[in-house]
């Protein structure tokens, strides 16, 4: 059919315009949906995840406690939870109450056969202690001698206490 108002080429152009407009509108709608999806996912806050209490071994919590714990057996380890063992965490650390022996460091002898520590008792008596030697009338063992400090180890609690050589004897450094 001839149509002089909208000839063939005009009809073709109108169809092409309609096609391109449809594609452009579809792209705009898809872009809007994508943007909206991105905004909604970015604005959401992280929800807290509620899980069961974490099971840990008490040895990992307090490394100095194993001396108080029973000897390891072949049975299944007795796991405990944090909230079920408050008495274990609240138990006072025995190492905190320990103080180094009340001996005054008078000299440190650096000899070829080994270091020798010269102490003076409160009664004024001098005595010599070498590495690994027990201090008399106590449970302390001389662990090591450094340049500015010495290390005592308690035989019962297996606690190490550092005593500064120049520091006052009643204010030890602990770690």
């Amino acid at each position: 059919m001839h149509n002089l108002i909208t000839p063939v080429y005009a009809r073709k152009q109108a169809q092409q315009r309609w096609l391109y407009s449809t594609i452009a509108c579809a792209c705009v709608v898809l872009g809007f949906l994508q943007l909206r999806y991105a905004l909604t996912t970015a604005s959401t806050t992280a929800e807290p995840i509620i899980t069961q209490p974490i099971k840990v071994m008490p040895e990992l919590i307090a490394p100095e406690v194993p001396a108080l714990m029973p000897a390891p057996t072949t049975e299944e380890p007795n796991y405990t939870t944090l909230d079920s063992t408050p008495q274990l965490l609240d138990k006072p650390n025995p190492c905190a109450d320990l103080t180094p022996p009340d001996y005054q460091i008078t000299a440190v002898l650096w000899q070829q056969q080994g270091e020798l520590l010269v102490l003076r008792s409160p009664l004024g008596r001098h005595l010599h202690v070498s590495l690994g030697q027990h201090l008399e009338q106590s449970k302390w063992v001389l662990q090591s001698i450094d340049k500015h400090s010495i290390t005592w180890q308690h035989q019962e609690f297996l606690c190490n206490v550092i005593q500064a050589i120049k520091a006052p004897p009643n204010q030890p450094l602990r770690y």
Partner: protein
Amino acid sequence: MLFSWTKNNVAVGFVVGERWLTSAWLIGYKSRRNRKGNSILADRQSTKVVMLCQRPIYTHNHMSLAELISSNLNQVILKTTPIPMIKKPFVSLQLPERLYETLIVEKPNTLKLTGQWAAAALADAGYNLNEWRWDVCLQGSACVFLLVKMVDLHHYLQPLNKAGCVPNAVSYINPERLVSLDNHLAPQYTGMTVLPDPIAAKQAVCLAATGLGYIYA
């Protein structure tokens, strides 16, 4: 009646002659049972001529052509039915035959309707494209161009535009081809009235039928 007018497609064909204005109203029924293929029987059953009339132009009448067409459209659209038509009819218009020129060229091998080959063919034939409004149809191995001078087209369309009834298409039904093409529509309007210009009546019916999608060229 109201249901059929709102449901089905309606097409109007106006044929402007030298002395008569012929208008034909057709309804294309959307009956799937009757629209099997493109058979003539199916077309006859799915298309119905509901109105066919001819009115004199400039003789015994003081109304212009645009007023006649506008009054016809508004009369049918607004007054025939209780409520205005929801679906507007497809309006086709045919200008006087002396204004048309037809050019038939051989169809090129590589054919693109949107290309410049049609304009080039018209330019080769000696037509100034700025002065002519043209359209092309493919019929077999030939390309049929229909041309109308731009001045004549606007001379007829300007009053229609002011009246608010611009047709959807300005086309042309060749009366020489009606003899072989309108056989299936002929029984519908031969028995209605005796019209002073029967060829224009046939052209109007075929023109409205082209608005419904049928090809008469």
